[in-house]
């Protein structure tokens, strides 16, 4: 009995190796850097708020068996185009953001469809293709916004464009500035729409979350007639989160140090609602017929095709959805930053999002919402803590900077390696088994012929 328990513990550790390792790293770098808890929490909440949607956008392609979608860079660009246009038109505030999202969605549908068609031509190599496609798209984006805007595309706006003199001595505007500041009403429009102190927000959130958990449990117990144990197990994510929130609430009420740490923290409620809505949308999609198709295609394309699913179309739809969500994610990200680095903001979007998802414990063919949020929190704590820790340890923030880049690429490389290796080993085992079966058949036949002779 004890042995079995021990095995289970080891299994748990093995399954969650990456998140556990990164939790340790995070705690160590927080400890080393010596920053106070309030700063860490504020920074974490703001970073999770602005990055979560970008990472959620990766889930559908993973389920569809296309691996990690590095081409969300295209979605990010669509989002940027939307924001640049509303700045150009001075269509500010929340309604501007909504318009930007609409523009971004339309662009994303087009770009996502093209990406999906390309991915269908390179089945099995989607990840590297997505990465190169990202580079390619950066080139095209630069071509449009450095050279074509103002010269071929008619647009004049001294506020966001570079001016120069032509031969006749007239001032002409060609190309966008490197940094485009959003107008005051657009900056932080979603974040500042409804801000609440964390200490006030938590009880309400806890109550809502507990209620949702209770409803789900009740539904499972009464409607689906599952046993108590089964129901608890299948919705363990909700239960664990509720318990953690409750513990936090108690701690804030009782321990002064924790109260102090959380006292200044504010929660952008509207951003939280947008994130929750996007998550629900993705969960909802996975429950529909389309979601079932996506999963089937992800498991085995031949089987899906035999079952009458249009494999190519399903893959394109998954890519389009991923691109759309990424474009919204980039809009939320940039309104939180307050400006857009016209030619750099999208560069590392794919890499960071993928690394964050993997840190949460996802793999190339499996990703859940829980992993998204674990990964976002861990990755981004590490992301802003390592330079600070590097500064304390080695008196050189640069070292921490390189360390975080290394972690980022390293985690991607190792996940990709493990996945590919597992696939090769499984293939080898299958071949070996087939070979042995054939041998056994042969033996059987020889035995029979021997008998007759």
């Amino acid at each position: 009995m004890e042995n079995k328990k021990h095995n289970k513990a080891v299994e748990f550790l093995q399954d969650n190796m990456v998140p556990i390792l990164f939790t340790v790293l995070c705690l160590a770098s927080i400890k080393i850097s010596g920053q106070n808890a309030g700063y860490v929490i504020t920074e974490t909440i703001s970073r999770v708020g602005r990055n979560a949607i970008l990472i959620v956008s990766l889930i559908l392609p993973v389920l569809c068996g296309m691996g990690l979608n590095f081409s969300i860079v295209l979605g990010a660009m669509a989002g940027e185009v939307g924001l640049i246009l509303i700045t150009h038109w001075s269509f500010d505030g929340l309604k501007g953001i909504v318009l930007a999202a609409v523009i971004a969605t339309i662009l994303s549908v087009i770009l996502g469809t093209l990406t999906g068609i390309l991915f269908n031509k390179v089945k099995g190599q989607e990840m590297i293709t997505g990465m190169i496609l990202g580079f390619f798209a950066v080139g095209v984006y630069d071509l449009i916004f450095i050279f074509m805007v103002g010269s071929i595309i008619p647009m004049v706006n001294p506020e966001i464009m570079l001016n120069s003199q032509n031969e006749a001595g007239e001032t002409i505007y060609v190309g966008l500035r490197n940094t485009i500041d959003f107008h005051a009403e657009t900056k932080y429009a979603v974040d500042n729409a409804w801000k609440v102190m964390f200490v006030k927000f938590l009880p309400v959130f806890l109550a809502c979350f507990a209620a949702v958990t209770a409803v789900i449990l009740a539904w499972k117990l009464l409607k689906k007639k599952e046993s108590v144990k089964e129901a608890c197990l299948s919705s363990r994510g909700f239960i664990i989160t509720s318990i953690l929130l409750a513990v936090l609430q108690v701690l804030i009420k009782t321990v002064p140090a924790v109260t102090k740490a959380f006292f200044i923290v504010q929660v952008p409620v509207l951003t939280a609602i947008v994130i929750a809505a996007v998550c629900l949308l993705v969960v909802f999609i996975t429950r529909t017929k389309l979601g079932q198709d996506i999963r089937t295609v992800g498991m085995n394309m031949q089987v899906a095709s035999a079952a009458g699913i249009d494999v190519d179309r399903t893959r394109i739809v998954a890519t389009v959805l991923s691109t759309i969500i990424a474009s919204w994610g980039q809009i939320i990200f940039l309104q939180n930053i307050g400006n857009v680095q016209t030619f750099n903001s999208h560069e590392q979007v794919g890499t960071y999002a993928v690394a964050a998802l993997l840190v949460g414990g996802a793999s190339i063919d499996k990703a859940t919402m829980g992993q998204v949020f674990t990964g976002t929190v861990l990755f981004h704590i590490l992301f802003f803590m390592t330079p600070l820790a590097g500064k304390v340890l080695f008196n050189d923030p640069q070292l921490g900077e390189y360390f975080r880049v290394f972690l980022c690429y390293g985690i991607i490389a190792i996940s990709l390696f493990l996945y590919a290796w597992k696939k090769v080993v499984a293939e080898k085992r299958r071949m070996q088994k087939e070979y042995e079966e054939q041998l056994a058949q042969l033996d059987g036949k020889q035995g029979q012929t021997g008998m007759t002779i």
Partner: protein
């Protein structure tokens, strides 16, 4: 006419178009008033600089490992050898070859490990290799900072630790190959009254080294080992039935690719005049890849001819595009943007030509 048709068939239509475009660029230099002697010399230097990196890409394709996205690993070994050479103030031709020699053992070790990795992930070599190379580049960024370099010429001036981002080779072996047997019209006084050709120069040494590299590679492909490697790369299943150990062939090919890349970056840097550390090697595989693909190679098949043609076409296009574009439309850095689009466009196009499970 028949001959012409044969040539077009041999090269393929798209390559003929590229060659035609290049010819237009080459000739357009004269009416646009760009100094042809200077620009043609630049083209030749660029071809010699990048040639070895493209050769490294070729042998990786021939041995069946596909496009070598792990080229930065070899480049890092070369940079490491180079940094040792500069640390001890080696100079001249001997210093340069010393740097290459020092990098070779590291390249062999790294190449062997990299081959071990790739042999375990058949079918996903490109993705895994790419991110493995990226992570090793960033790991080496930390190494450049903490390794005990002490030569004041190469460490950061104030702190005294860690390599600088770029390391000048002025006092070591800056352009030693370029200047070896160099034919410089201006210095030699040839054609000095001709306005077009007076600035022309030919970096004989650099091109000789590239030619020697190509010749050796071509000879190797004709040997028994070379034939086995080509066979194993094109059709691994068939080779296995012939008793070829595919994994061993791939290991040899990838080690060779890493070693050639290590020597290649030294050749590149001596001509450039600087070693570039930290994130510089990150993207260096892609131009080499684009060059060999534009030369007519596919991710499954390549030859020395593809290397030579590809590096000439790709590098000349890039070198000529900047001044010509500036003269025609006066648009600053457009050629850099066009390079990104062309380079990645070519790679994307080549990727679509690999069918699913093509590796098996």
């Amino acid at each position: 006419m028949n001959r012409l048709k044969q040539a077009v068939d041999y090269l393929g239509v798209s390559r003929t178009v590229v060659i035609g475009f290049l010819l237009v660029l080459i000739l357009s230099v004269f009416p646009l008033g760009i100094n042809p002697g200077m620009i043609y010399s630049d083209c030749l230097v660029r071809i010699g600089m990048n040639g070895f990196l493209v050769l490294a890409m070729m042998i990786s394709i021939v041995c069946g490992a596909g496009l070598n996205f792990g080229l930065p690993i070899g480049i890092l070994c070369g940079l490491f050898g180079g940094s040792i050479a500069v640390q001890f103030n080696w100079s001249g031709l001997a210093g340069f070859w010393g740097a290459c020699l020092v990098s070779v053992p590291f390249a062999i070790a790294a190449g062997w490990l990299y081959a071990l990795l790739l042999n375990n992930v058949k079918g996903s070599e490109m993705t895994v290799g790419n991110y493995m190379a990226f992570s090793i580049v960033s790991l080496m960024s930390i190494a450049w900072l903490v390794l005990p370099y002490s030569n004041p010429k190469i460490v950061w001036p104030i702190t005294g630790v860690g390599l600088r981002t770029t390391m000048t080779l002025e006092e070591n072996y800056d352009k030693v190959l370029d200047n070896f047997l160099k034919i410089d019209f201006r210095a030699m006084g040839i054609l000095q009254d001709n306005p077009y050709w007076k600035d022309f120069s030919l970096s004989t040494g650099l091109l000789l080294v590239f030619a020697a590299g190509c010749l050796l590679m071509w000879l190797f492909m004709k040997t028994r080992a070379g034939v086995i490697m080509r066979c194993s790369g094109v059709n691994p299943g068939f080779s296995r039935t012939l008793g070829v150990n595919n994994n061993r062939v791939r290991t040899i090919g990838i080690i060779a690719s890493t070693v050639i890349a290590a020597i290649g970056i030294n050749i590149y840097s001596q001509s450039y005049g600087f070693y570039q550390f930290y994130s510089a090697p990150l993207m260096m595989a892609f131009p080499a890849m684009a060059a060999i693909l534009i030369g007519g190679a596919t991710p499954r098949k390549a030859g020395v001819f593809n290397v030579v043609l590809g590096v000439i076409l790709f590098q000349s296009l890039l070198t000529l595009a900047t001044p010509v574009a500036n003269a025609v439309i006066n648009a600053g850095s457009i050629s850099e943007v066009v390079r990104i689009i062309v380079q990645n466009g070519i790679i994307l196009y080549a990727l679509t030509k690999i069918r699913a499970n093509g590796g098996k």
